[in-house]
């Protein structure tokens, strides 16, 4: 069979144009919802255009027309065969109160693994600090230089300080902390692509630093100062890094696919939306933590009593635990 391309185009072109128009509407407005009749029409036009492309490829040589039909079929294909739910208009409140905590709970095992790796690192740091006084100098990075000296001396300096060391640079210090911590979190997630090895190393290393610094202050009898300094921002910052590690482990699990029969692309597709949700949530937590660290954590007694700082940290922790464990709970049960 040989087709007459002109006649063929004249008959079919209105349908191609109709399909193109419908696709433009669907693509340009994420909130656009097809009626049943429109969905049926889209499906019909897609099938008809696919058939036209098939005919053209088999019975004729029209490169431009073929490219045009290929692009139409490709666009319609992505709309018709897409099985993921369409992204509706973004609702920040629903996302924050429902989607984020639900997503966190959906991958809770990865979170506990992230916690366990960090605890092992912390124990290692504690062990190193207890048995080797020089471990602190050897392991702590440059940005922790203020913790390299004697903790008792630092506490004395902080408590007797006559002037505000952070006066005129609180906002920039806060921005620096936010940027640094968010970068570390993204790395923790992205390193999941190394089959989780990079994420594990990063979590372990963070644990070591935590163990070293904590043990150093406790051994020097400055536990109250440590809690007053660490809790206000740490109860948000440390869980945020753990959650970023959770995202990295989720990615690694999808990559490895233990006991799964789905293809790699299917496994990665399943978790990509969750990873985005988690990492945006982590970034929000770290913005808060950066703000608190610059504007509250660096002020000590007598300017800000330790009891107030510790109580504030405890309240934050309770709210965080309740948020992650309870928020959006009823909705998730109802969805199930």
């Amino acid at each position: 069979m040989i087709i007459d391309v002109e006649k063929f185009s004249a008959v079919e072109e209105p349908l191609w144009r109709e399909l193109e128009g419908l696709l433009v509407r669907v693509e340009e407005d994420p909130g656009f919802k097809l009626t049943l009749d429109q969905a049926r029409r889209l499906h019909y036009l897609y099938e008809r255009t696919s058939a036209d492309l098939g005919k053209l490829v088999t019975f004729s040589s029209e490169p431009e027309l073929r490219r045009y039909l290929e692009s139409l079929v490709a666009r319609a294909y992505s709309e018709i065969h897409e099985t993921r739910s369409r992204e509706r208009r973004f609702k920040p409140f629903t996302w924050f109160m429902h989607t984020l905590p639900q997503t966190f709970r959906r991958h809770i095992k990865a979170f506990w693994l992230s916690v366990a790796i960090t605890i092992v690192g912390t124990l290692f740091g504690t062990f190193a600090m207890t048995f080797d006084a020089e471990a602190k100098q050897a392991i702590l990075p440059e940005m922790f230089a203020s913790h390299l000296g004697d903790p008792t001396e630092r506490v004395r300096e902080e408590e007797t300080a006559k002037e505000d060391r952070y006066a005129g640079k609180k906002a920039s210090f806060s921005a620096f902390l936010m940027r640094n911590n968010i970068t570390v979190s993204i790395k923790a997630m992205a390193l999941g692509m190394t089959y989780g090895v990079g994420t594990i190393i990063l979590l372990f290393y963070n644990g070591i630093i935590l163990g070293l610094v904590g043990t150093d202050y406790i051994m020097a009898g400055q536990t109250k100062f440590l809690l007053g300094w660490l809790l206000p921002h740490g109860v948000i910052e440390i869980p945020a890094i753990l959650i970023a590690g959770q995202a990295g482990l989720v990615l690694a699990n999808a990559l490895i696919g233990w006991g799964r029969r789905e293809r790699l692309t299917v496994r990665l597709r399943e978790v990509s939306r969750d990873l985005t949700t988690i990492i945006i949530g982590v970034a929000l937590m770290l913005v808060w933590a950066g703000f608190i660290e610059a504007f509250m954590s660096q002020y000590h007694a007598p300017v800000l009593p330790y009891s107030v700082k510790i109580a504030f940290g405890c309240v934050e922790l309770v709210v965080l635990v309740l948020f992650l464990s309870r928020a959006g709970f009823q909705k998730s049960v109802a969805t199930k």
Binding site: V5, S50, E62, P63, A74, Y77, E87, M189, A190, M193
Partner: protein, 262 residues
């Protein structure tokens, strides 16, 4: 096996293909994007200089955060806003698409851009470059995680046929059934070769030109055999020109037929 095209077969049995972008084109697009990011950062820096006069601390904080947001968010915002394109990709006619032909989602754009941090390791995109080199679909790690590929948008070529194939008599037009057979048997790639040869005929050395058109004419004569009176006395170059005219200028047939009817 490594491939240069992404082929997708629909459940209806239709295959459509898209050409994957080469690493060099992607690198050039990235360099252009770096220039754009640099320009944005310079603008922010200038703005912050003025803000410093009002409040140095707030200005420094805003500058630091804006710097971070622009560096990290430029590609995310552009690719989401322009459906898989940044300025660099748009200039080089590249686009990020879903690797299975599905709709490109926001989370895919976020993941592929955040994972750039791993692709950049240890420096100068070594990990990403190696991954793209090894991967069957030329994907860096971010693309693999997000299930995306970067394709080249073909430039739809619209030659000026009136200039190229002026309204001279085309003896092949007298045989519509053979014209139709030519359409059926010649692939788009072959048609494109004929057209390109005609367009670039003046660039060849005389001997090479004669040889090229001789080979092309023999090739197309082998596809469809026109009666001797249609091809007699026609040079090989003219024959190829007539073939390109038949393949590309479909409206001419209409005119010829209308003239014949009149």
């Amino acid at each position: 096996m490594k491939t240069t095209t992404l082929q997708i077969k629909t459940p209806e049995g239709i295959v459509f293909s898209q050409t994957l972008a080469s690493p060099m084109a992607r690198f050039l697009a990235f360099m252009l994007d770096l220039l754009c990011i640099g320009a944005l950062l310079t603008a922010i820096q200038l703005l912050m200089r003025f803000a410093m006069i009002i409040n140095p601390d707030i200005a420094a904080a805003a500058g630091m955060l804006l710097y971070f947001v622009v560096t990290l968010g430029y590609s995310i915002v552009m690719e989401w806003w322009w459906r898989g394109q940044t300025i660099g990709k748009r200039v080089l006619k590249l686009r990020v698409v879903d690797a299975e032909g599905m709709r490109l989602e926001f989370n895919q754009v976020v993941i592929r851009n955040l994972l750039r941090m791993v692709d950049l390791l240890p420096a100068f995109y070594v990990v990403g470059g190696l991954s793209a080199f090894v991967s069957r679909k030329a994907q860096r790690l971010g693309d693999i995680a997000a299930n995306t590929v970067v394709i080249r948008i073909p430039k739809i070529f619209q030659p000026d046929l009136e200039q190229l194939l002026p309204g001279k008599f085309n003896s092949l037009r007298a045989y519509p059934h053979l014209e139709a057979r030519l359409h059926q048997r010649v692939s788009p790639a072959e048609a494109s070769v004929a057209l390109q040869a005609i367009m670039r005929r003046d660039e060849f050395e005389p001997a090479a030109r004669v040889q090229l058109f001789s080979e092309l004419a023999a090739h197309f004569k082998g596809k469809v055999e026109f009666p001797a009176e249609a091809t007699e006395g026609i040079a090989d170059e003219q024959y190829v020109r007539n073939v390109a005219d038949v393949l590309y200028r479909t409206d001419a047939r209409k005119k010829t037929r209308e003239a014949a009817t009149a």
